[in-house]
């Protein structure tokens, strides 16, 4: 008869609350809930667009609701959080070698932020054309 009796510790359900790193991970994953919501709002906008001008304007008006503003602000924050985490992890999936050296992670991250800035400004400009 073996005297061994390995003790298995159960993972608590709220494991992700017990360690800051995990909490941040969960926020990252959780950001997708609000981003889903935002995408639904956009999809709804396309639907209203297809229904004609009145419908579309109704959609635009609804977005002016203070509740909508606050919601969008929140969504913006989480979307930015997603952006930051996405960029910081991006180098790990990149396997670019230049002259026998792996491209520095910092360069890859910086390139992402650069492109992000350019795209953001581009979008802001193009919308006001």
């Amino acid at each position: 008869m073996s005297k061994r009796k390995p003790y298995i510790r159960e993972l608590p359900r709220d494991w992700w609350m017990k360690q800051l790193f995990y909490t941040k991970y969960m926020i990252r994953e959780g950001s997708s809930v609000l981003i889903t919501l935002y995408s639904l709002i956009l999809a709804w906008g396309v639907f209203r667009l297809s229904q004609g001008e009145t419908a579309f304007n109704g959609w635009l008006e609804a977005l002016q609701n203070p509740f909508a503003i606050i919601l969008h602000l929140l969504m913006l924050i989480l979307a930015l959080y997603h952006t930051i985490t996405w960029f910081s992890l991006a180098p790990k999936a990149v396997d670019l070698w230049i002259k026998g050296k792996k491209l520095d992670d910092k360069v890859i991250v910086a390139a992402h932020y650069g492109a992000f800035a350019v795209l953001t400004i581009f979008c802001l400009l193009i919308i006001t054309l």
Partner: protein, 133 residues
Amino acid sequence: MSKTTEKTYKRSHEPVFWGLFGAGGMLTAFLTPVMILITGLLIPLGIIDQHYFSYEKIHGFATTWYGSVIVLVLVALPFWHTLHRIFHALHDIGINRGRDWQQVICYGFAFAVSVFVFTLLLQMLTAPSLFGF
């Protein structure tokens, strides 16, 4: 060497979803913040005048072939990213029952919304005048 127990390996179909997740994640990272900024804050608050986002302008854009593609990608692709994460997060928080159904619902939802938006755009593209009357 003995060839007794060569394991059988079962390929996962995850690459399909992971590919869409990655594409959606990339798009979300680069463009969603500015999109939220424009549609959710700057325009509703009037910082950008609403005429830049008028029905004519948007409808005109969405009824060009390239415009409709752009709108489809911008609106539908993020779902494949976010629903993928939601599906996996359900597992993370210990909701383990019916993983198959969870999968069907999550990706099915992304698929349904994609088809929905696609249909709307196609409708607008092929019959633009219909709504004019």
